[in-house]
């Protein structure tokens, strides 16, 4: 039997604690529609979590609740030592669309939040923060450019710069590369990984892309299918940081992690119940019997649903 829930490492500080999170949408007949139910997750400081699952399962709902943009129906989220209540600059978001203000250039777009988050900083200091975060994402030469003069990738870079300029505790990425071509996507993945390595931020990325989920994260959180989605399985990714794309992609473990995620998405995503964690070394983690049991359970659930 493989290890189940790994004991929390007491030396590393917990950055985000999501407990018994519930999201309900009321419907007019009084039967509330529960999208997310009993979602539990602890994230260590500096950890990178990827959230993967079928579309519509509530990944983005969890992320927007963590960002404070979506109301929490029940349960709670603690960031640092405080329970969150609405959005705040300690959790900045990179949205799927760059969401830049088309009437502001990249510098002004980033400055928009900086002004608010550093009310006591001098003008020069603020300027420095903006310039720094823009150069971190590789836009040192495009500070005066307006969104429509930039490609989608460059716009998303500004979006990332805007998020990191606030120096948040947690960086939330809501399918940030969903609309980009694969080359640009890889570039931006590297940008994010570099930034996180340098700034030691905690991060969570919602994605559809299995490769992305494995390559970027320390732990992949697989969500079971909605409604009433929760954490299905957690896969710990054992690659060292900093990661080199070529090395990671050629590592046989990469394919095994990938297989695990795909197998979850294809076979086990509909199984609800206690969360299983798989760490390095026993990733596929099932004995033959367990596998057979799971298959049977799946079949049973399928008939009961029918």
């Amino acid at each position: 039997m493989s290890t189940l829930t790994a004991l929390p490492d007491l030396k590393t500080k917990r950055s985000v604690e999501i407990s018994h999170l519930i999201k309900e949408y009321p419907n007019p007949y009084g039967e509330d529609f529960r999208v997310v139910e009993d979602f539990n997750l602890n994230i260590q400081e500096g950890e990178f979590i990827s959230l993967i699952g079928h579309s519509g399962c509530g990944k983005s709902t969890v992320l927007t609740m963590l960002a404070g943009l979506n109301e929490i129906s029940d349960g709670g989220i603690i960031v640092g030592d405080k329970e969150i209540d609405g959005p705040g600059p300690d959790r900045s978001v990179v949205f799927q669309a760059p969401c830049l203000m088309p009437w502001l250039n990249s510098f002004q777009n980033v400055m928009l939040g900086v002004k608010n988050v550093y009310p006591h900083a001098t003008k020069a200091e603020r300027r420095q923060i903006v310039e720094h975060s823009l150069s971190v994402v590789g836009l040192a030469d495009a500070m005066k450019k307006f969104p429509k003069e930039m490609s989608g990738g460059m716009q998303q870079r500004v979006g990332i710069a805007r998020a990191i300029a606030l120096q948040p505790k947690v960086l939330l990425l809501d399918e940030p590369f969903g609309r980009l071509d694969s080359l640009t996507r890889m570039e931006l993945q590297d940008v994010i990984i570099d930034i996180l390595a340098r700034e030691k931020m905690t991060a969570m990325i919602v994605t559809h892309d299995v490769d992305e989920a494995v390559f970027m994260a320390d732990r992949c959180v697989m969500m079971s299918n909605g409604p009433k989605a929760g954490v299905g399985e957690i896969l710990e990714i054992g690659f060292d940081r900093p990661r080199n794309r070529e090395e990671v992609y050629q590592d046989p473990k990469f394919f095994e992690y990938r297989e695990h995620l795909l197998a979850f998405l294809e076979q086990r995503a509909h199984i609800k119940g206690s969360t299983r964690t798989f760490s390095d070394g026993d990733f596929m983690g099932f004995t033959e019997k367990e596998g057979a049991d799971l298959e049977a359970a799946a079949a049973q659930e399928a008939t009961s649903v029918a």
């Binding site: 404070g68 959005p87 600059p89 959790r91 978001v93 203000m101 608010n116």
Partner: protein, 574 residues
């Protein structure tokens, strides 16, 4: 957002395809000028001039020529055809104020209006001239006057001659009708006499009992019928004669017109001479000065206390007159150009008032559903109200502020003062602001308010949700949200609304001016309609064109502004 990006991408890829041959020389200054011009044309909305410019720069001449033919020449031809039809049909339609003026008459009316304006300027200039310049001007005017007078005499003579000739011709044309008339009158006379005789005879028979009284009545009825028939026949001939008389030969009309034109000039130069010699500012000041000097010498010699009192009083009055004379200026006459300027000023004031009210209220409506719900009934009820009704209401309500003497109201005193604080030249003095103008501006504001308000509310409430999410994550405060996100993103729609507002305002203004007789194009049209001279019909049509052309340019200006503030399709961003 995605849609915009997409369309921009498509456009740019098209652009690349189109400009491929030029790409290698894109850095040439010639190309820079070309694309600069094309951009300017696109911005100002005169896309029609795109092909000629490309043609000048030698880009695909065949295509450009085809485009010019399709989108420039054909429209020009069509407009030309419309004017030609106007030229043919107009003068054939007779109205009670003469034939409908053709394009040529209207063009002449414009020339005359322009000359009228020039004359007013000349007179005002003459009034203010001083010293040697004035003397010089007098001799110049005298010389010109002489020339015009001799020419006027010549033209007068020619006109008389042609008129005589024309009269003869007319007489010739009238002769057959006159003969007809004479014979008809004679016939009628004899027929009448015969009928009278028959009546007398019948009356005698009735007294003798040989005929019944009913027969007598029938006879009278017949008689009156015959009378009306006769007068109708006469009227027919008379109408024909009138038409000939009212339509003198072309040459006569032309000669008369030419003579009148020069006679007008003569009149004008006489008036100028009079101004220069008698009522000029300097002259009138000198006159006052001489009287003061005379009185002062008299005062020095005077011994009688009553006499002294009288003299010193009149000196004091003269001195105050002297001070006033310095500020005096010839009042401008209401030329069509002055009226246009006044209309523009009024519409500008009204439009600004509308924008000042509509934009903040619209923003509040867009931001807050309760405010929107509160204002919806008010907007719905007052929006359809006619400008005429508003004008009357404003005349009463706003008029109350200017009581008892509007001319002494601080607003008008300030606006009509030639100099502010004694030395800043007031640029609005020439407008002659009065209450009527304020009422018109208020009416314009009231009617122009709604489109701007509704569009602003729409623009604010239709803000991209993503942008609001960004604002929430960045924790922007209310004012920052308003000025950094809400207003910039709703600006394109706000300006779209303002554009409609300005169009509505300009249309409403003309009606308001006509009704409130506030000086402006509307009053000009109304006055022309009322005075009904031979030229007024042409002037009305002229005003129609001026109103139309100005409206067109106002709209263009708003389009340019709208393009400047919209970030997704325009070429400018800041």
């Amino acid at each position: 957002m995605e849609r915009h990006v997409h369309s921009a991408a498509v456009q740019s890829s098209f652009g690349r395809l189109e400009h491929q041959p030029g790409n290698t020389m894109a850095d040439l200054p010639k190309d820079k000028i070309k694309y600069g011009l094309l951009k300017f044309i696109d911005l100002s909305g005169f896309k029609v001039f795109d092909p000629p410019i490309r043609l000048i720069f030698g880009e695909d001449p065949q295509k450009q020529i085809r485009d010019i033919a399709k989108f420039m020449l054909l429209p020009i031809l069509f407009v030309g055809m419309c004017i030609w039809m106007w030229h043919i049909i107009g003068p054939n339609h007779k109205t009670k104020s003469g034939a409908v003026p053709g394009p040529w008459t209207v063009w002449n009316a414009y020339g005359e209006s322009a000359r009228f304006d020039e004359r007013e300027q000349e007179k005002m200039e003459d009034f203010a001239l001083e010293g040697a310049e004035r003397i010089e001007r007098i001799s110049l005017v005298k010389k010109q006057l002489d020339e015009f007078e001799s020419e006027a005499k010549k033209l007068q003579k020619i006109s008389q001659e042609t008129e005589e000739k024309g009269n003869e011709e007319q007489e010739k044309r009238l002769a057959p009708f006159k003969a007809q008339m004479e014979s008809l009158t004679a016939k009628i006379k004899t027929a009448k006499a015969e009928r009278k005789a028959a009546q007398v005879a019948l009356a005698e028979k009735v007294t003798l009992g040989e005929a019944k009284p009913e027969e007598m009545i029938a006879l009278f009825a017949k008689h009156s019928e015959a009378n009306t028939a006769d007068s109708e026949a006469k009227a027919l001939i008379k109408a024909e004669m009138d038409e000939i008389r009212s339509d003198p030969p072309q040459e006569v009309q032309k000669a008369k017109l030419a003579a009148n034109k020069v006679a007008d000039e003569v009149q004008h130069f006489k008036k100028r001479l009079d101004i220069l010699e008698n009522s000029n500012k300097e002259v009138s000041k000198e006159k006052i000065l001489t009287t003061i000097a005379e009185k002062k010498t008299e005062l020095a010699a005077a011994t009688d206390p009553k006499e002294i009192a009288k003299l010193s009083k009149s000196i004091a009055i003269a001195e105050s007159n002297l001070a006033k004379a310095d500020e005096k200026k010839l009042a401008p006459s209401a030329t069509i150009f002055w009226q246009t300027k006044r209309s523009l000023a009024t519409v500008f004031v009204g439009f600004m008032l509308a924008a000042l009210i509509a934009i903040p209220v619209g923003i509040m409506c867009g931001l807050n559903k309760i405010v929107m719900a509160c204002l919806t009934p008010i907007i719905s009820i007052f929006r359809p109200v006619s400008p005429v009704v508003w004008l009357l209401i404003f005349q009463i309500i706003v008029g109350a502020f200017f009581l008892p003497d509007p001319a002494k109201h601080p607003l008008f005193v300030t606006l009509n003062n030639e100099y502010w604080f004694g030395w800043i030249k007031n640029p609005f003095a020439f407008l002659g602001t009065n209450p009527a103008m304020v009422f018109s501006a208020c009416t314009v504001a009231m009617c122009a308010l709604w489109p701007a308000l509704v569009n602003t509310a729409l623009g604010v409430s239709a803000i991209d949700k993503d942008h609001m999410n960004v604002a929430r994550v960045l924790k922007l405060g209310f004012w920052q949200r308003l000025f950094k996100i809400v207003i910039p993103s709703s600006l394109p729609l706000v300006f779209a609304g303002l554009r409609i507002s300005l169009g509505v305002g300009w249309m409403v203004l003309i009606a308001a001016e006509a009704l409130s007789s506030s000086d402006g194009l509307g009053k000009f049209v109304w006055d022309e309609y009322q005075n009904g001279s031979s030229r007024s019909f042409a002037n009305i049509i002229l005003a129609c064109f001026i109103v139309g052309i100005i409206g067109f340019f106002l709209d263009r200006i708003m389009i340019v502004l709208q393009k400047l503030v919209s970030f997704d399709d325009g070429s400018a961003t800041a």
